[in-house]
């Protein structure tokens, strides 16, 4: 019974997804009602998750369903972020599909199914379960990206994503097999027990297996050199989906990665040096890619690579206590707020068929829509890490964690990367404020996405005040 209670958010979300699927199948409601329904369901799931989180007497890593799943405060917080991302994305999509083609009612079911996969991913405590969760999530997201089959851009994006995703999924399955072959178990608890007895390097097979699993994760979080897909796929996806991928998918994958790596101290200590180099390369390559973009979506995709780099800093500086999970959770939430905010704003402002999407398209926005421009500015400043936003506090915690773990060089490189990133964030602000408008920025559709955007803008400030206990 306690097992079921711990899984309640997942069960509710799955039920919601099935309900929406049925509703979509019978075409009961129009587009706008579907969006509102989905947003409402996400909100409901969010509250169920929150209630579960505060009411359950958690032991760290309570095992459920015979160690297949583990529910912890960290997985609960990740679940909250994911469900909030789903809600805001649904809200944004309502406005987005008002002036863009490609709407199918099943879109919203897929959004919820993807969230199911993600929730499962955050709780997975066993390699096969993890893989299944990963695939549930990925399949749903493939559909979300490519639902609009008539547009070539979408088809190209989904093809690239699918092929490379399958490629990396292959690595995962292969890796899980090697680990099982080497250690005789696939559960995290079992792995940690075996490793504690004999150490990782006694089994070359398991070492190779973990490497392959790690590669799959690195692909999903778009760490260099496994990043190349991200810019094209984010660019090709509809704006609300891009926002959803950039936030919810990243949160879920990072949560799973942290659960795996931090289960036991020895696993992380083996990979730390390798991750260190990957992290530095990710930070700087990501910055360089972002810098070269003229399209806002592509810029944001590339900046997502950099944010993965920061999260890697936190993982590298982690100890086995809960502190690093807190820092990572805070960063994921702060990043999600700003990213969702900007995609929500873009969903409104981009116009028919995403016609406004390059930096130059937003010239002089501040003179026509001062509030929208101000909110976008807030989100960009939060991403760049300028106080007093949530993004600043998140970066502050990560760099502090790096310093206190003795990772001085990494901390300094992280700071330098922050400075570099300001360039491309401020470029959009400069375009909005210091040029004269050429466009009339006419907006159609309901004001739901703008309302969500405003909530997020306030949250960016509010969340920075949330005191993080160490």
């Amino acid at each position: 019974m306690a097992d079921l209670l711990a899984l309640l958010p997942l069960i509710v979300t799955t039920a919601a997804a099935i309900v929406v699927m049925l509703v979509a199948g019978f075409s009961l409601f129009g587009r706008e009602v579907m969006a509102l329904l989905t947003t409402g369901l996400f909100m409901f799931c969010f509250f169920v998750q929150a209630a579960t989180l505060v009411s359950m007497p958690f032991f760290p890593y309570q095992q459920t369903f015979g160690s297949m799943l583990a529910v912890s405060p960290f997985s609960g917080v990740a679940g909250l972020i994911i469900l909030a991302c789903g809600g805001f994305s649904a809200l944004a999509s309502q406005t987005y599909f008002g002036h863009n083609k490609g709407y199918v009612p099943e879109f919203y079911a897929m959004l919820l199914f993807a969230a199911c996969g993600m929730l499962l991913l955050t709780m997975a405590a066993e390699l096969i379960t993890l893989f299944i969760a990963l695939e549930i999530m990925s399949l749903a997201v493939y559909v979300l990206v490519g639902a609009d089959r008539e547009r070539l851009l979408r088809a190209e994006a989904v093809l690239k994503y699918l092929m490379l995703g399958a490629f990396s999924g292959g690595f995962f399955v292969m890796g899980a097999m090697f680990v099982y072959g080497g250690l005789g178990t696939t559960s995290f608890a079992g792995i940690s027990r075996v490793l504690a007895e004999s150490g990782l390097f006694t089994s070359p097979l398991a070492t190779a297996g973990f490497l392959l699993i790690l590669i799959c994760f690195l692909f999903k979080i778009a760490a260099v050199p496994f990043h190349a897909w991200v810019v094209d796929v984010y660019d090709g996806a509809p704006l609300p989906v891009t926002g959803f991928m950039a936030t919810a998918v990243k949160t879920a994958v990072f949560c799973a990665l942290v659960n795996l790596l931090l289960t036991d101290g020895s696993l992380l200590s083996v990979w730390r040096d390798i991750l260190w180099y990957l992290c530095v390369v990710t930070l700087f390559t990501g910055n360089l890619i972002a810098l070269g973009q003229t399209n806002i979506k592509r810029m944001l995709a590339a900046s997502g690579i950099v944010h993965s780099g920061y999260l890697l800093i936190a993982i590298i500086s982690a100890d086995v206590t809960g502190a690093s999970r807190t820092v990572i959770g805070f960063y994921l939430a702060a990043y999600a707020l700003a990213t969702l905010g900007i995609f929500s704003a873009l969903s409104t402002l981009s116009g028919n068929d995403e016609k406004r999407i390059s930096f130059a398209d937003f010239n002089g926005l501040a003179k026509v829509h001062p509030y929208s421009a101000a909110m976008i500015t807030v989100f960009l400043l939060s991403m760049a890490g300028i106080p007093p936003t949530a993004g600043f506090m998140a970066k502050f915690y990560i760099i502090t964690a790096a310093f206190s773990a003795g990772q001085l060089v990494l901390g300094v490189l992280g700071l330098i990367s922050t400075i570099l990133s300001i360039y491309y964030y401020v470029r959009l602000i400069a375009a909005m404020y210091f040029t004269t408008p050429e466009d009339d920025f006419a907006i159609t559709g309901l004001a739901l996405a703008p309302a969500g955007t405003a909530v997020l803008a306030v949250a960016v400030f509010g969340f920075s005040l949330y005191p993080l206990g160490w």
């Binding site: 390097f201 050199p225 496994f226 190349a228 810019v231 360089l288 070269g292």
Partner: protein, 634 residues
């Protein structure tokens, strides 16, 4: 032992909430026609009036406590903790704070009501009332803060509102410049204030940084340290309270709407410096020299303000210089450890100076924004209520018994003589005479004689909503002096006893008699000279020599400009011309170039072909495998 009071927080929150609501309403209605100005005004008046009622409740509460233990507090939360520094955000009220709060909210309420009439039809009134409410909230934080840092929040808050309201009519660039001037000059003072606080923390702040902790540990300060801290804090006060050498912003601040001049630049904010010195009385008791310096700065400012006031022609500037001069008196009081006398003058001054400013505002609106007194004249028939109330204010300012100014000013002068500063006393008496002269110069020229205004016949008395506050304030100006009647006139110095700021000393009957006689004489002489010059008809004078020099305010503004402003601008220009392009910019541009080149290289690799991306992954797998192999082998 402190007592809890739940009234403090709502008192502060109410005006702040008002400011928030007004701000939102203003933003929400700015695109459409906008809400009518008086609707904003009516909403705005709620905060101050409710705060005033709460202040009355506070008075009752504090009087219910035993005589030597009258401190009410409300601790809210720990604001921040850095190293050893633990700072709580709390509110505190002792009799001194209660007195300040009472008159701040009372005068504030009246001026909010008056503004409803004054700002009628102004399209930006929403912003005006939001700022005014915000100001009141910040002022209450300043007064009720439980420690110097909370006070500093209010201190900066009132400065911000002052800036916003001075440049309120921002169509005219001169007004914006006046706002900037006020802000910048105040920053200079604030620097001193911050340094003083930092030094204080360094010396005795490590066990707590509230007034209660500091008061306990103040005796540990060495004399030199006490002097330094005292003077640094006083630099802050010279900025906020417009004393030498930082007084220059206050006359320019008259560019703001007249209710603002009355509330902020006469009755309340500018007295913050005096309040601060009284609040830190435990500190200044450790250093007599600091107090003497303050008293001298005060009396010299009083003299300078009075001299300038005698030769101005703008009705608001006359009153502004008079404010500077009266603030000087207050600093004489608190500087010479006669805290209750200084605060008493703050209290009475608030009534009659607010009254004079509001009266001036009434005249100005009646004459369609004419401020030159030589364009006025004979207005007593046209503006009877304004005339009578302003006359009462003028009598109070000039120090005619038994009105408010007479008692409070004399108490300060007695203190000067009693502590052995006859020169300050003499200058004080001189300034009293000058005050009487310039006050009645204003009254005679504006209200008596022949009309000089072209539209004289169309002039009508202001609205009820404006004149009723005038009448209430006039009543205050008559009565406020009686709460601290000295024994020589049959009183018991009720206020001084109640405030309990200094040890009580036996009355100096002879000194008091001497002072009363001297000040009555110079007051009569001052009014007499004004009467002979400007009655029955005043002729616009042409100033020569010293008078002309004084009319030009001794060219102090020009002096500051050439001493400080121009060199700074020159340095800035030099940096822009030489240092920036030749020294700083080169490396920066080089970095930018390098960065862009890197970006081009990376985007060239980002080809868009899936097969190429897959190859990257394979290369990555290879590299990682090699790294792992090295780990395994090594």
């Amino acid at each position: 032992m402190m007592h809890h009071s739940a009234l403090l927080l709502p008192m502060v929150i109410l005006p702040l909430a008002g400011a928030f609501v007004l701000g939102v309403l203003r933003l929400a209605t700015v695109r459409e026609r906008g809400m009518a100005a008086h609707h904003f005004g009516i909403i705005a008046a709620f905060g101050p009036i409710l705060s005033f009622l709460l202040a009355l409740g506070l008075l009752v509460q504090i009087n219910g406590l035993p005589g030597h233990d009258r401190v009410l507090s409300q601790s809210l939360y720990q604001w921040f903790a850095v190293g050893e520094m633990r700072v709580n955000f709390g509110l505190m009220a002792d009799p001194l704070a209660v007195l300040m709060v009472l008159f701040v909210t009372f005068v504030g309420s009246l001026i909010h009501i008056y503004s409803i009439g004054y700002m009628k039809g102004d399209p930006n009134a929403g912003a005006f009332f939001a700022y005014l409410n915000l100001f009141l909230g910040a002022m209450l934080i300043l007064v009720l803060g439980s420690g110097p840092l909370v006070m500093f929040v209010g201190w900066e808050g009132v400065g911000l509102c002052s800036y916003l309201l001075i440049s309120y009519y921002n169509d005219d660039r001169a007004n914006v410049a006046a706002g900037n001037k006020a802000f910048i000059v105040n920053r200079i003072g604030d620097l001193g204030f911050i340094l003083g606080l930092a030094l204080l923390f360094w010396a005795i702040g490590d066990t707590g940084f509230d007034y209660a902790d500091l008061r306990e540990r103040a005796p540990e300060l060495t004399p030199l340290l006490a002097l330094t801290v005292g003077l640094l804090l006083f630099i802050g006060a010279t900025g906020k309270s417009a004393q030498l050498p930082l007084y220059v912003w206050l006359p320019d601040a008259m560019a703001g709407p007249t209710p603002v001049s009355a509330l902020i630049h006469a009755a309340t904010m500018v007295t913050a410096g005096v309040y601060m010195v009284a609040r830190f009385s435990f500190l200044y008791m450790q250093s007599v020299p600091a107090g003497v310096i303050i008293a001298w700065v005060g009396i010299l400012t009083a003299l300078l303000g009075a001299i300038f006031g005698m030769f101005q022609r703008d009705i608001k500037k006359i009153l502004a210089y008079s404010t500077i001069s009266q603030l000087g008196y207050m600093f004489v009081g608190v500087g010479l450890a006669a805290y209750s006398a200084g605060i008493f003058h703050v209290f009475t001054h608030a009534f009659f100076k607010a009254l004079l400013f509001l009266g001036a505002g009434s005249v100005i609106t009646a004459l369609h924004h004419q401020q030159d007194i030589w364009r006025m004249g004979g207005l007593k028939k046209r503006l009877p209520i304004t005339y009578v109330t302003m006359l009462i204010g003028a009598l109070a300012l000039a120090g005619v018994p038994p009105l408010a100014g007479f008692f409070s000013k004399d108490e300060i002068l007695v203190a000067a003589l009693a502590t052995g500063h006859p020169v300050i006393w003499l200058l004080g008496i001189l300034v009293a005479g000058m005050t009487a002269y310039y006050t009645f110069r204003l009254i005679f020229v504006v209200f008596h004689g022949t009309p000089r205004d072209a539209h004289y016949e169309e002039v009508t008395e202001s609205l009820r909503v404006m004149t009723i506050p005038l009448m209430i304030l006039a009543a205050g100006a008559v009565l406020a002096g009686f709460i601290n009647l000295p024994p020589i006139l049959g009183g018991h110095q009720l206020l001084s006893h109640w405030l309990g700021l200094e040890a009580h000393h036996s009355p100096h009957i002879k000194l008091e008699l001497l002072t009363i006689l001297a000040s009555l004489t110079v007051c009569a002489v001052g009014i007499g000279i004004a009467y002979r010059r400007f009655i029955p008809t005043a002729v616009e004078p042409v100033y020569h020599g010293f008078a002309r020099f004084a009319e030009a305010k001794f060219h102090v503004d020009e002096l500051y400009d050439s001493l400080f402003v121009q060199p700074l601008l020159g340095a800035g220009a030099a940096i822009r011309r030489v240092v920036e392009p030749r020294i700083v910019d080169g490396p920066v541009q080089a970095v930018v170039w390098l960065y862009r080149a890197g970006a081009d290289a990376v985007s060239a690799v980002q080809s868009g072909y899936v097969r190429v991306y897959a190859i990257y992954m394979v290369v990555g797998v290879g590299l990682l495998s090699f790294a792992v192999y090295r780990l395994l082998v090594g």
